[in-house]
């Protein structure tokens, strides 16, 4: 008789007593994650979500911030008003200019620096350079703004004097529209470029040296190896930097605008954030400011979502 080889079935002994369940012990085990999350959730609730909901409701009222004054329901009037104000459109344009300018500092400059310095500086020199370029990030924005308003002062400011030596003096940096916008972007860029360089360095460190070695053996020049290998592999970092630019530019620029130009001259440096602030707190038109903030918030959501989606799609390149 021919018999097929049968798999052996081995059975664990049954009828062992089940371990006792302890309700409180298991509950206590599940607690720590929530405990860790609580402080952050409380802070976010109080300082992010509550104001968000409040401004969402205030957008439909007319009110001047005084607790003693009544809030008047005006429906969509605030939105209609905001959308017809030329100042809003100018603020949008300025915001766009700021974002473009900052993209140069937060994406262009560090990536170009990475390409130029690839494999050239090591050890102490590199650490020193990293530290030097990162210091402005740590300077408080208000301090930076005040400092630069002295440096950029007409008639005797250091920048004015230095440029004077080059025959380019007599620029009234903070008073003429073009130079004022440029000054805001330059100061913001000076302040943030260190962070971007650090992020790019981290991104480069994540790229295995073997890819570049393979490219070198494959006969690629340094230029080609940067464009065809390093940059594509760095693309997740580049997208991250674009998102960082989008998210960090407004809060960095706000205190600088406030201390350098106060939005002037004639609104030339007022971006959408400063516009909301001026409307809300200087003109005490809470309804108007809230409506603008809500509109901007809604317009921002798809932009950020798109960025995050792009980042997820590129993340496979990391390894």
């Amino acid at each position: 008789m021919l018999v097929a080889h049968a798999p052996v079935e081995e059975v664990a002994p049954d009828a062992l007593p089940a371990p006792p369940r302890r309700r409180w012990a298991s509950l206590a085990r599940q607690m720590p994650p929530y405990l860790y999350l609580t402080p952050a959730l409380v802070v976010m609730g109080v300082w992010v979500y509550r104001p968000l909901l409040l401004s969402l409701t205030w957008a439909f009222y007319r009110w001047n911030l005084l607790p003693t004054r009544p809030r008047v329901w005006v429906g969509l009037t605030n939105f209609r008003q905001v959308l017809t104000q030329p100042q809003l459109w100018q603020a949008l344009e300025v915001t766009g200019l700021y974002l473009l300018g900052m993209a140069v500092f937060l994406v262009g400059v560090p990536v170009a620096a990475a390409g130029l310095s690839e494999g050239t500086t090591h050890g102490r020199g590199r650490r020193l350079y990293r530290a030097a370029i990162f210091v402005p990030v740590l300077v408080s924005p208000v301090v930076a703004g005040t400092l630069w308003s002295f440096l950029l002062a007409p008639n005797g400011g250091i920048v004015d004097r230095l440029l004077g030596h080059l025959g380019m003096g007599d620029v009234n940096w903070l008073v003429e529209p073009g130079p004022a916008r440029a000054a805001v972007v330059l100061v913001a860029g000076w302040k943030m470029v260190g962070l971007a360089v650090l992020l790019v360095e981290a991104g480069l460190a994540g790229i295995s040296a073997e890819y570049l070695e393979a490219a070198a053996v494959d006969g690629a020049s340094r230029w080609r190896s940067f464009w065809r290998v390093t940059l594509p592999l760095l693309s997740p970092t580049v997208v991250l930097l674009l998102i960082v630019t989008l998210l960090l530019t407004p809060p960095i620029i706000f205190p600088l605008v406030n201390s350098l130009t106060q939005g002037g001259p004639n609104g030339a440096t007022t971006d959408i954030y400063y516009y909301v602030y001026v409307n809300g707190f200087n003109s005490a038109d809470v309804g108007n400011a809230s409506a603008a903030a809500v509109l901007f918030f809604l317009a921002f959501i798809p932009v950020v979502l798109g960025g995050v989606r792009l980042l997820e799609r590129l993340s496979f390149l990391d390894r």
């Binding site: 073997e210 070695e213 490219a215 070198a216 690629a220």
Partner: protein, 399 residues
């Protein structure tokens, strides 16, 4: 005129002419800080040869390969590929192809683009790039996956893409850094055979780094065994296995490794005799002064049956390992471990006591101090003592 043409060939070789080139390493030393990774290494890799650099991790074999590739500049010494001194040339001008341990396939490029990369870097005509890349892909059975990204491939396919990427260049030599180490055992064995066939088909110089002696034995035309930044022995797989130049080679090559035992050697009535414990073996006719040696014998050379004139070693079996086709008995001889390998079943049990015999022809003698192999010079020259074999010395003298 001759001067100019030589000069041209030194600076701008015709890329990818595929002439298999010899590679010479001339007194190459490399230090990382205080660590000497390569210690005055000289080696000739003949044109069309499959040279395997074999050694334990940290022995400098990968460093040596990288020096050849130009990824590391040696502290001292020269690297010559064909008739060009390439020591100061960047990797891209050396016309060598390299397969990395991790394959280093560009993750953002498709298989085809990966294969084309080197040819595109050379700015060859579009049609030629495509034709050569498709041919290489075809040869390695990658035609079906040309549009996939590396992450969508199996380990074996990635390995083939890495090979195709090297092959398409038609380089002067292939450099391979443990290319099989991330494959599973079955695939590794299959790929080993394919690599040997590829080498035969291309006829190009291969320099192949591995720590796996089985790989080295299976594929190499010659093996360079490395240890601590030096080359211990260069030879065919047979020479390295049968006549290890040092105790290191004896123990590194072979699985299980060669048995080494302290012994003494002397002569009585015109015969040179070797003594291990109470056992004596007659080696050669002649006279010499008594001295201590280390005697080595391969585990599979030991026999249970007796032979006259050989070494008879009384052992006790400690345990038995079943390797499928063979069994290894881990025995104890005079307090030291002695391995005996034989076709299964070898029919011993732990605790058994038996006598194992080794024929005189299967014994290797080493100098206890230097670890170098001792060889008998049979004529009646004034020097009647065994002389240390100076393996590698002939290489070091070249230059």
């Amino acid at each position: 005129m001759i001067g100019i043409s030589t000069r041209r060939s030194q600076t701008a070789p015709p890329p990818g002419d595929g002439r298999p080139s010899p590679i010479f390493l001339d007194h190459v030393t490399h230090r990382f800080g205080h660590i000497v990774a390569l210690d005055d290494v000289s080696l000739e890799v003949k044109a069309g040869e499959f040279m395997v650099l074999l050694g334990p991790s940290g022995c400098g074999k990968s460093t040596l390969l990288r020096v050849v590739a130009g990824l590391i500049a040696p502290t001292k010494g020269r690297v010559i590929v064909g008739d060009r001194d390439v020591t100061s040339l960047p990797p891209k001008d050396r016309d060598l192809a390299m397969v990395f341990q991790s394959y280093a396939l560009y993750p953002h490029l498709s298989v085809l683009k990966n294969i084309e990369f080197a040819l595109r870097a050379q700015r060859l005509p579009r049609a030629e790039v495509e034709a050569r890349s498709l041919a290489a892909a075809e040869q390695l059975g990658l035609s079906g996956v040309l549009n996939r990204k590396p992450r969508e491939l199996s380990g074996g396919q990635r390995q083939r893409v890495a090979l195709a990427r090297a092959m398409v260049r038609n380089p002067r030599a292939f450099l391979m850094d443990e290319p099989l180490s991330s494959l599973d055992a079955q695939l590794r064995a299959a790929t080993r055979i394919e690599l040997s066939e590829l080498h035969r088909a291309l006829g190009t110089t291969f320099v192949y780094v591995t720590h796996d002696q089985l790989e080295a034995m299976a594929m190499a035309t010659r093996i360079a065994v490395m240890n601590r930044g030096r080359i211990e022995q260069v030879g065919t797989p047979g020479e390295v296995y049968d006549q290890p130049a040092t105790t290191f080679v004896a123990q590194f090559v072979g699985s299980p490794p060669m048995n080494l035992m302290p012994a003494s050697i002397g002569s009585r009535s015109g015969k040179v005799r070797l003594r291990v414990g109470e056992s004596e073996a007659t080696l050669w006719d002649g006279d010499l002064e008594p001295r201590a040696v280390v005697v080595g014998v391969r585990p599979e050379r030991l026999r249970r049956g007796g032979e006259r004139g050989g070494l008879a070693l009384g052992v006790m079996v400690r345990s038995v390992e079943n390797l499928g086709s063979e069994e290894v008995a881990i025995c104890e001889h005079r307090g030291e471990r002695l391995l005996w390998k034989g076709p299964r079943p070898i029919e011993v049990m732990p605790g058994d006591e038996l006598v194992l015999h080794a024929s005189s022809n299967d014994l290797c003698l080493f100098d206890p101090a230097s670890g170098r192999r001792l060889m008998w010079v049979p004529d009646a020259a004034p020097q009647e003592r065994p002389v240390a074999m100076a393996s590698g010395a002939s290489l070091t003298r070249r230059g």
